[in-house]
């Protein structure tokens, strides 16, 4: 039985009992407990089921390396699957549930997989489930999917908050054990800005549980003194519950801080994600104990030796009454001492080594514990709980020589340095033969932009496994028991039979056994990455923290090569899993891609506009009135604009000022048109192409002064075009004297459109907006009423139209004034859809509709906007390539359906026959298609093979489903072909 001991427990506060439940059963722990220590303390040894065979699983470890003891934590919106109990702090009211079983933890149908284990070796699914063909999708995969997965599925949106923060420091020390503390002291005393972070809630790491003295005092006292000094240093920042999750290029470290995990709903952010720029990262991340591979090493009650003593010393929890220790090293004898000190029984220590002369074994023997040398465990007895072990000769095949009753097994296969952070960004490892471990190679560190190391390693993470070695790295004296060398043991017993190897687990969560790795090797999956992927070794939620080295060793053995020749798999971030919530931070809901708002947005909102997202803006699509459908509203807005006057919030339009002695030359390169010759006071419609000649943006350019132009871009394109301009100026034409500034948000812009537009402006008084004073394609500046206006006579609708730009601060007032003054004239706002329909009626192109990155201006009948005089412009050379000048291209035309219906969006015009790949030939497609209230029927623009030469021809387009629609090829302009209305 695991149980709570009557005394002791460094980390628990017995005065503060906490209630929690496991599978609905009420249990009790203490403040300072982890979920794991509380479960063990409450006698719960079996806590889950494994992934593939659904075998019973218990707690193995006491930290981040735990593969088994995952639970579903919390309920409803605060439910969280796959919560690692060994690193989760207990809190009052915690609700936990075991995972991966049906109907219950103790009785699980899925266990049948275990009975059939021989049929399910590594990769069996690659060899089966192939016939009949449809069966995979309809039969096998659904079954596999049902039984797969681990945790439950959260059902609701997450109610918690997450925060993100930045930190900058000279030195980041990852790990708050004695090595980390010593490193922080050294750097802190030297005046560096230091961040010292520790993933658990406690400082000091393993040392207080193990024995030892530092600098002449007990380790625990040294730690206390170190903390006191560190806290007194203003340049040192210390954080617990803070994991360095990943090391990235240029010394960028992602930190993951647990803030309110143990106080759900207290209003604080649950997690905080830190982006840290560190000059140097010192990884002092310790080491992880390795399990041993023997049959039944996965039965609940078999644990790491270090975990057993952690539970005793830190939480006063005894994992069992009778604990057999099995080891290949001296360190595990510390567990025996801890057990004895707690008054528990250690029936036997099984040591795989032939001799045990170290100080620790001697001390343990002196206390009367039987030590069997050269022995191993043949198999563990028990299924959902250890009941005993069979002992055999380590050198043999597993013939049992003795059976020992016990309810816990503490195993130790030696230690592996935690090299994850070191490796994330390219730090290399070397194999340390005497200690049988990979450790960081100081000559091949991860390097920063300057080629120098951006990380170093200290303490056990560096392979300095003893306290003395660790502290020696800092010039500090320390001592603990001397330790004799370990003897690598990768299989117990060395000659284990097939039957035993099929029960000796390497990856506990994913059920990967020694036999699986050997099978992979036999089948040629000999690269360590192949083995991993074929067997799923190390792919579980612990990412192989316990299994990797053992698996590597088994693989190397199978291949008959030394371990370093096999190499390791890649260590990738994060060190342990981090919540997607933390990665998201505050950027959710309203703050997910914050909305850009025009100065007039609130007015649209008050009107109940129907929205359309455009880039990061949201523009009114239309303003439906009560009882009106969207299409009704659009029709009304168009008709009113063409008959009376309409207003559009055009503030989202890109407004980029280009200024400088070389501005004209620059714009001549950017636009296909000539902009340098544009007279001050005039506007010109311009086209921009990319280097490949494709049309990428358009807009009206106004020359504001001798050396200053204002370029209007599309709403969605403003930032891109601004970046595009900067790109050319910074990378190619860096010696040209030009500045560009994106003033999109500095101005509100309102289009006043329709036959009564002038009348409306005149009601405001002020500047002269008559045809003579402000002709078409001109602009003027002045006072319009009380407003500081720059007015452009440009038209995207074919109507008399003014676009009035005012400082953003005046935008709403101007809009409201125009609305009020215009009431008598029948003014109405119109949205983007009316804008689109009206421009289509005029045959004006829309970037993104008529263009898609494959269309050149020549296709769109815009050759007139391409200067023939200029020596060069972006896209010019590309447009001379053979395919671009091919006379047989799809070109823009108007389309009128014969029956008046509207051709569906995206419709294509099939042509006769099929191409070499069996696809139907095509001869065109629609690019814009609308019901035109002005014309009273469906109109469209489209790209049609040689379209402009085929006026009057009727071709077919794909309709909804399998239908076809007949349309006649006509000119692109459907309305006011002579352009009389806009030029009045």
């Amino acid at each position: 039985m695991s149980t709570r001991l009557a005394k002791g427990g460094r980390l628990i506060d017995r005065a503060k009992p906490l209630n929690f439940t496991f599978n609905g059963k009420p249990m009790r722990g203490f403040a300072g407990d982890t979920l794991a220590s509380a479960l063990l303390g409450a006698g719960q040894v079996m806590v889950g089921r494994s992934f593939k065979y659904h075998r019973p699983r218990g707690i193995v470890a006491s930290g981040a390396e735990e593969p088994n003891a995952l639970v579903g934590l919390g309920r409803n919106a605060r439910f969280e699957p796959d919560q690692r109990t060994t690193t989760t702090e207990l809190f009052e009211g915690a609700e936990t549930r075991s995972q991966n079983h049906w109907p219950s933890l103790d009785f699980d149908i899925g266990e049948i997989n275990d009975r059939l284990y021989k049929f399910f070796p590594a990769g069996f699914y690659y060899k089966t489930f192939m016939a009949p063909r449809a069966a995979w999708k309809h039969l096998f995969e659904p079954i596999i999917r049902k039984s797969a997965g681990l945790g439950g599925v959260p059902k609701e949106a997450d109610p918690d908050r997450y925060e993100q923060a930045y930190a900058h420091c000279d030195v980041l020390v990852a790990g708050g054990g004695v090595a980390g503390l010593a490193a922080a002291l050294r750097e802190g005393r030297a005046g560096k800005r230091v961040w010292l972070v520790e993933q658990s809630a406690h400082w000091g790491g393993r040392t207080p549980v193990d024995d030892g003295q530092i600098d002449g005092v007990e380790a625990e006292d040294w730690i206390a003194a170190a903390l006191e000094e560190l806290e007194s240093l203003a340049n040192v920042t210390m954080r617990t519950r803070f994991m360095a999750a990943g090391l990235y290029d240029h010394g960028y470290v992602i930190g993951y801080e647990s803030v309110a995990d143990a106080t759900p709903g207290d209003g604080r952010p649950r997690h905080r994600l830190w982006r840290i720029r560190a000059g140097l990262t010192i990884t002092a991340t310790g080491a992880i104990e390795r399990p041993l591979a023997f049959a039944g090493n996965d039965v609940p009650g078999v644990m790491l030796a270090s975990a057993v003593r952690d539970y005793i010393v830190n939480w006063a929890v005894s994992p069992g009454d009778r604990t057999v220790i099995v080891t290949n090293n001296d360190d595990a004898y510390r567990t025996a001492l801890a057990l004895l000190d707690a008054g528990l029984t250690v029936p036997t220590i099984v040591d795989a080594r032939e001799e045990t002369h170290g100080a620790l074994p001697q001390e343990v023997k002196a206390r009367g514990v039987r030590v069997l040398e050269g022995r191993g465990i043949a198999r563990v007895l028990g299924r959902s709980r250890v009941t005993g072990v069979e002992i055999c000769a380590q050198a043999g095949e597993g013939g049992a020589v003795e059976t020992i009753a016990c309810d816990c097994v503490a195993m130790s296969g030696g230690w592996s340095p935690v090299v994850h952070l070191w490796s994330h960004c390219g730090g290399k490892l070397i194999w340390d033969e005497p200690r049988a471990m990979f450790r960081p190679d100081p000559s091949r560190p991860p390097t920063g932009a300057d080629g120098a190391a951006m990380a170093t390693v200290a303490g056990a993470a560096n392979g300095d496994l003893t306290l003395a070695e660790t502290m020696a790295g800092f010039g500090i004296g320390a001592c603990s028991h001397d330790e004799a060398a370990l003897a690598p043991v990768w299989m117990m017993p060395a000659g284990a039979t097939d039957a035993l190897r099929y029960k000796a687990f390497l990856d506990f969560q994913n059920d990967v056994k020694v036999s699986d790795v050997q099978l992979a090797a036999r089948e040629g999956y000999t690269s360590v990455e192949h083995t991993k992927r074929y067997t799923t070794l190390g792919m579980a939620t612990d990412q192989g923290k316990l299994s990797n080295i053992n698996g590597l060793a088994v693989l190397s053995d199978a291949l008959g090569q030394p371990i370093p020749a096999t190499g390791t798999t890649t260590f990738r971030p994060p060190y342990t899993p981090i919540s997607l919530g933390a990665i998201t931070g505050e950027a959710r809901g309203d703050l997910f891609q914050p909305l850009r708002r025009t100065p007039i947005q609130s007015w649209h909102e008050a009107q109940g506009a129907h929205w359309e997202p455009v880039g990061h803006w949201r523009r009114p699509y239309c303003y439906p009135r009560k009882g009106e459908s969207h299409s009704d509203a659009v029709g009304r807005e168009i008709t009113n604009t063409r008959k009376n006057v309409g207003m559009l919030d055009a503030s989202t339009l890109g407004k980029i000022v280009v200024k400088g002695p070389d501005a004209g030359r620059f714009l001549d390169m950017l636009y296909t048109n000539m902009m340098s010759t544009l007279p001050v006071g005039k506007c010109r419609y311009g086209l921009m192409c990319n280097e490949n000649g494709f049309l990428m943006d358009d807009g009206v350019v106004a020359r504001l002064s001798e050396d200053m132009w204002l370029c209007h871009t599309t709403s969605g394109g403003a930032d891109r075009i601004h970046g595009w301009m900067e790109d050319w100026l910074q990378c190619e034409w860096w010696d040209w004297k030009v500045y560009v500034a994106n003033l999109t948000e500095q101005f509100a812009q309102i289009a006043v459109v329709g036959p009564k537009a002038r009348a409306l402006l005149e009601r405001l008084g002020g500047m002269d907006v008559s045809k003579e004073a402000l002709p078409f394609m001109h602009w003027a500046e002045g006072k319009l009423g009380d407003f500081d206006a720059r007015i452009f006579r440009i038209s995207f609708s074919g109507e008399l139209s003014y676009e009035i730009a005012v400082p953003a601060s005046q935008g709403l007032a101007l809009w409201e004034t125009l609305m009020a003054e215009g009431e008598a004239l029948g003014v109405m706002p119109y949205g983007t859809e009316a804008l689109h329909v009206m421009r289509a009626e005029k045959g004006f192109i829309m970037i993104g509709d008529e263009t898609d990155g494959t269309v050149i201006p020549q296709d769109l009948g815009l050759s007139w906007a391409i200067s023939k005089k200029k020596a060069d412009f972006l896209g010019k050379r590309a447009q001379e390539r053979s395919h671009m000048t091919d006379p047989n291209r799809w070109k823009l035309v108007g389309l009128e359906t014969l029956d008046g219906s509207v051709i569906p969006d995206g419709s294509h015009a099939p042509a006769e026959g099929y191409n070499a790949n069996g696809q139907r030939n095509t001869q065109g497609r629609v690019t814009s298609t609308y019901y035109s209230p002005t014309i009273g029927k469906g109109i469209a623009l489209g790209l049609v093979l040689n379209g402009p030469d085929r006026m009057g021809e009727v071709i077919e387009f794909t309709g909804e489903g399998e239908t076809q629609i007949k349309a006649r090829i006509v000119e692109t302009c459907f309305y006011d072909k002579e352009g009389e209305k806009q030029d009045v």
Partner: protein, 414 residues
Amino acid sequence: MKRYSIFAVAREAMRYHAGWERAWRSPTPKKRYKVIVVGAGGHGLATAYYLGKVHGIRDVAVIEKGWLGGGNTGRNTTIIRSNYLQDPSAAIYEKARALYEGLSQDLNYNVMFSPRGLLMLGQTEHEVRGYKRTVHANRLQGIATEWIGPERVKELVPIINIAGPRYPVLGALYQARGGTARHDAVAWGYARACSAMGMDIIQKCEVTGIRTEGGKVQGVSTTQGEIDCEQLAVVVAGHSSVMAEMAGFRLPIESVALQAWVSEPIKPCMDVVVMANTVHGYMSQSDKGEMVIGGGTDGFNNYTQRGSWHHVEETTRALVETFPIISRLKMLRQWGGIVDMTGDRSPILSKTPVEGIFVNCGWGTGGFKSIPGSGYAMAELMARGHSPLAAEFGLERFREGRFIDESVAAGVAH
């Protein structure tokens, strides 16, 4: 080659699976092969496979500097679809998808092709129009896709948030027989089948030089010695331009990192693949239960298979917004691959200025789905000198300006 079947597994179960042979041999290179394929990713292996299977050319070596399938083929998010817009793309991706349907049986290796359905969300009017255009194009290309409304989307993906607020889901482009497959198995299955045909798959062998004479290929220099060949297929994804340089020509390829990550496994909750291009992210759930997530490419060229962190944030945000329940899941592992990007984001399957050298690259962020089709077309191009599926993907298109640009149809890497 010993056939795989449920009976074979049962038979082996009785003797602790001692009777399985190597999936592929581990040969030492011969002096000369008719064809050398450089790169044992999916595309290289499939090229070799169809050379043997369709054209009877079996004197083939596939040379790989690391472990087979260890490039992007073993790093991708395994999305398979053929709902492409432009005819040449649609043709080759649909050929690939169709071959995937029978690939497990063809290779006698279960690649777990799972046509579970794929949705590309429309979240702006512009995107909606774009996808409707794709549906019309696909209809004429013989590819079954449809436009579905938001209610149907919700039905297919109960965990999705269709209500916004930022970008409400307006509908989706749905390909019912799009889906996923097991990436490693695709590489392994092809490798095993190639090896069974007598081809040599040579791992841990890096090509360090290409020998040419009089504008014709002679062979390659490798870390395992000189090897001669009549034809050389360069199929090395992110390292294509490096290889081209060895042969003395240039390729319009840029290499950038693309990342993916997975959550911890949970019980099945999403049966289809969802791509959300407006917000920039996509997600599916693997058979193991992990949510498999991918996002955008790095903005700078490099060869480290890592990628920059801010993309992880951007994409995760997009997906938490789209699937609010995943906020409490945890990211288990994050990785990157070096993808080979062309100017028009479409692949290159082509002869080159050097006689006898062919390139197959430029699949960029989306070439897992095309592996069988690409291998099929490449083999045809090499064996016959012409392939209708490859015809439009020649290098000359960049000179002629005959781009095959899919950017309208897919704003996101996948």
